[in-house]
Amino acid sequence: MFELIDVKYQEVVDIPHLYITKGQTVLLGASGSGKTTVLKLLNKMISPTQGRILFCGNDLKQLPSVDHRRNVMMLSQNPIMFEGNIRDNLTIAFKFQERVIPGDEELYKILGKVQLEKGLDTPVNLLSGGEKQRLALGRIFLLDPSVYLLDEPSSSLDQDTEDKIIKMVSEHIKKANKSAVMITHSKSVAEKYGDEIIEMAQGKILYRRLRDECNK
């Protein structure tokens, strides 16, 4: 799906060659190893200072950035909330993309999916860090892009909620035949859900392997 050829981003990332297949990819690596930078490269929030990135055979340079970001959508590591309530934050991206805004019923359905039991009129500044994280995840799931780039979607969640959320994500991706590249610090999440596991260290790819089926 993605192919990185001789890619460098400043002094931060240096990847001679990497192939990311369709399905669920998990990206591991120590803090500061360049994981977030790679995700940003994949959805064209930044461009490589050297080399090429192909998406389904097309050079990212040739793809219009805004269209690409709508298709390959990123959940930021620290999602930013916009002013207003939960409804505003779920629907704002539909305004950005000039799409028809979904009704409350659909919004509540997505809140249920991300385990957020709150009214749509709740002001977002009342939400906890983990609740904001789930709201941001819901925001992206509502938009339903074809590729999800998830930067530590469960970093501020407890073990139980993390399991539920990641399971939901994984099931959705499989059922809807989508793809995801997910950054996580949890080896167990990686082993459980990553069809493909990539570990980075100091801006380089340490290894790329398929899931060890025996662990299942």
Binding site: S65, V66, R69, M73, A93
Partner: protein, 258 residues
């Protein structure tokens, strides 16, 4: 007509008593802005005296070339002043945008005002051209400086909101909507406020000057109304141009934040 009460150089000197008083107060209270107060007072005096001489000459020898030259100088000085105020904080793209919007915005409004509203004759009459250009360029300069400040500040405070909007698939233009709207408001507000207070809270400088030099208040009022509308138009158009072109200076061709 009233006899005009000429102000002699000695009488002007007496007005400097204001400066002495302010200097005395600031130095006693230890506020410590004496240097700036003195420099600005002296600079203002020298600038106006020189301008006076230039205007006397230009009015006595009206020519299209001279009028054009003065307008160009005014524009250059205004643009330079804005650049100088934001030393080191303006990208090259933003500088070009500021210069272009100042020139196009003020000149378009100035020419409309002089040729269609006032209908001056000859078309280069410096007695109209220069003071009206001065007011339009001066106010637009203030407007654009406020606008640039609000744009840069908005960008540094709300950068993560803009970035999140891009991530969520917004075009740069859409991502900048709230900053752009706030900027326009910040830039145009002083002009709007001065229109609201006009005639009640204060008499504007131009009208006061005209009345003091013998023009009937009725004529002065008509001019003042027209010029206020002209100034508002010029400020608004200049700032809108700056914003329409300027918001892009924070993005590259690939719609990424720079």
């Amino acid at each position: 007509m009233n006899a005009i009460n000429d102000l002699s150089i000695w009488q002007v000197m007496l007005a400097y008593v204001f400066v002495l008083v302010v200097l005395a107060i600031t130095s006693i209270r230890g506020i410590g802005r004496e240097k700036e107060i003195l420099i600005s007072s002296v600079r203002m005096t020298i600038q106006l005296v020189l301008t006076g001489y230039v205007l006397v000459y230009v009015f006595a020898n009206p020519s299209p070339l001279l009028t054009a030259l003065i307008i160009v100088l005014m524009e250059c000085f205004a643009i330079y002043t804005v650049f100088n105020r934001f030393k080191g904080r303006l990208s090259k793209k933003l500088k070009i945008t500021i210069a272009l919007s100042m020139l196009v915005g003020t000149l378009a409004c100035l020419l409309y005002f002089l040729f269609i509203v006032v209908r001056i004759d000859p078309w280069y009459d410096p007695q109209y051209f220069i003071p009206i250009a001065g007011m339009m360029v001066g106010n637009s300069m203030t407007g654009i400086a406020l606008g640039v400040k609000s744009l840069i500040d908005g960008m540094s405070i709300q950068r993560n909101l803009v970035e999140e909007a891009l991530i969520l698939g917004a075009t740069p233009q859409f991502a900048m909507t709230s900053i752009v709207n706030n900027t326009f408001e910040a830039a145009i507000m002083p002009t709007i406020n001065s229109m609201l207070g006009m005639g009640i809270i204060f008499l504007p400088g131009m009208m006061t000057g005209q009345i003091l030099s013998g023009t009937s208040p009725a004529t002065a009022v008509n001019y003042q109304i027209a010029i206020m509308l002209g100034i508002m138009g010029s400020v608004a158009i200049t700032v809108i141009l700056m914003l329409q072109l300027g918001y892009r200076s924070f993005f590259n061709e690939e719609d990424q934040l720079v």
